[in-house]
């Protein structure tokens, strides 16, 4: 069975380490915050200028001056820092964020990512995504493995205009967890009940499959 959005978030959350500064993109990445493992503390960076994003506010706490990069009202946790956009991207561009999680339309075997525009469709902009992928050493892409029509999104070479070149090293899809290096996807784990054959079939890029591919487990 393909992973649910929640399971994808749970799986990504296992990559968190105690003391990580983490930037979570919109969508599934945002859900990761709900599954931070016990005993681990991470600090969430929001690129509009907040390090140490807290919970959503109560009705009484809502403050128009306190939002996250998704423009949602949020709170700051004790020990948070707030700064301007140049400082925020200095952190990001300078490689100080330990882990970035973001969605993608396509990734390819060389670590290229396309996530911001589909030609012919209206282009709304890249926001901070290009800065994030160019700045982080450590990025996990979350995405569906293939389109609704079964077309692979893990490609030999991205078809869509890139968000960043050669910058993605890990991908979590609804079917598998993979690493990217040496010009290939390396299959590391598969979703519960998903066969290696299905993954092979739905991966258009070069895929390296080890003898044993462990199945993810969820409680």
């Amino acid at each position: 069975m393909a992973l649910t959005r929640e399971q994808m978030a749970m799986r990504v959350a296992r990559e968190l380490e105690d003391g990580f500064y983490v930037n979570l993109g919109i969508g599934i990445p945002t859900l990761v915050a709900n599954y931070v493992p016990e005993g681990i503390d991470v600090m969430l960076q929001s690129e509009n200028g907040l390090l140490g994003m807290g919970r959503f506010p109560t009705e009484a706490e809502v403050d128009a001056d306190m939002i996250n990069a998704g423009k949602q009202t949020v709170t700051a946790r004790p020990g948070a820092a707030i700064f301007d956009s140049a400082e925020s991207f200095a952190m990001i561009r300078g490689g100080h964020v330990d882990l970035t999680v973001l969605g993608a339309f396509e990734v390819d075997q060389n670590g290229n990512i396309a996530s911001w525009m589909v030609p012919g469709k209206l282009i709304k902009g890249m926001g901070g995504a290009m800065d994030l992928v160019a700045g982080a050493e450590n990025i996990i892409c979350t995405m569906t493995h293939a389109s609704k029509h079964g077309e692979s999104k893990l490609l030999e070479s991205c078809n869509l205009p890139l968000t960043g070149a050669g910058c993605i090293n890990r991908v979590l899809t609804d079917l598998a967890y993979l690493e990217i290096h040496d010009g290939a996807f390396h299959l590391k784990e598969r979703a519960p009940g998903v066969s290696v054959e299905e993954i092979v079939e739905k991966t258009a890029g070069k895929l390296v499959v080890p003898d044993h591919v462990p199945e993810m487990t969820f409680e």
Partner: protein, 233 residues
């Protein structure tokens, strides 16, 4: 003390000198920390053919979105413009030119303009359409593209508190692009919620030193919220 008293008494005075064809850089992220009254004054004054530098372009009927109603914006540098039906329409009709600029690059280009840095290299956008036509250079085995600084005729900025010398502090995430926009305008106009006496702001806690600021005005703000997200109290 007249020399450093930057207070003006009306929004008309605050935006005096804005003309069609000018470049305006604006602070704000989404609808957070936007100079909403200064924008409204630009609408009232009717300057057209503007080039706007701002992370977003407001929403229909609020923020920079209101400048679309009379087609006052000819060109915009922004990282994300997708909250606005009128904007989409004008973009599709080619009535507005959009130069999409990565958010961090946008911020850094504002800072560079204020800081006398004409250009800098960044990895952001290398290998993407944003890098097309830009110089590529390798440093320590990695590729970077050259980005040039922004300069504007007017900077419009929303602060929290300021003294009459133009020293400004921002509140929470309403800071965002505001201190950067403040540095790169020929004329920098800051609207704030409160004007305090010189000395009330602690010198080492000031976000925007007065040297960047030409005009200060105290206003009242709607502070519209784009995505009110709450948890159970």
């Amino acid at each position: 003390m007249a020399g450093f008293d930057k207070r003006v008494n009306s929004y008309e005075e605050a935006m005096a000198g804005i003309e069609s064809g000018m470049t305006v850089v604006a602070g704000g992220f989404g609808l957070c920390g936007i100079p909403e009254n200064l924008i409204a004054e630009i609408k009232r004054l009717g300057a057209k053919d503007l080039t706007v530098i701002s992370n977003n372009c407001g929403v229909d009927g609020f923020g920079l979105g209101i400048l679309l109603e009379d087609k006052q914006i000819r060109r915009i540098y922004a990282s994300y413009v997708g909250e606005n039906a009128m904007f989409e329409q004008q973009m599709l009709n080619d009535e507005i030119e959009v130069i999409l600029t990565p958010q961090g690059t946008l911020a850094e280009k504002m800072r560079a303009g204020g800081a006398g840095i004409p250009a800098f290299y960044t990895a952001t956008g290398y290998g993407t359409p944003i890098g097309d036509g830009k110089e590529v250079r390798e440093f320590n085995g990695r590729h970077y593209i050259l980005e040039e600084a922004f300069h504007a005729d007017f900077a419009i900025v929303k602060g929290w508190k300021a003294d009459r010398y133009g020293n400004v502090i921002y509140r929470d995430t309403a800071q965002n692009f505001n201190p950067l926009a403040a540095t790169c305008g020929k004329i920098t106009v800051v609207e704030v919620e409160e004007i305090v006496e010189p000395g009330e702001l602690k010198p080492d806690q000031i976000h925007t030193p007065g040297i960047y600021v030409d005009r200060i005005i105290q206003g009242s703000f709607e502070k519209r919220i784009e995505k009110r997200t709450v948890r159970e109290g």
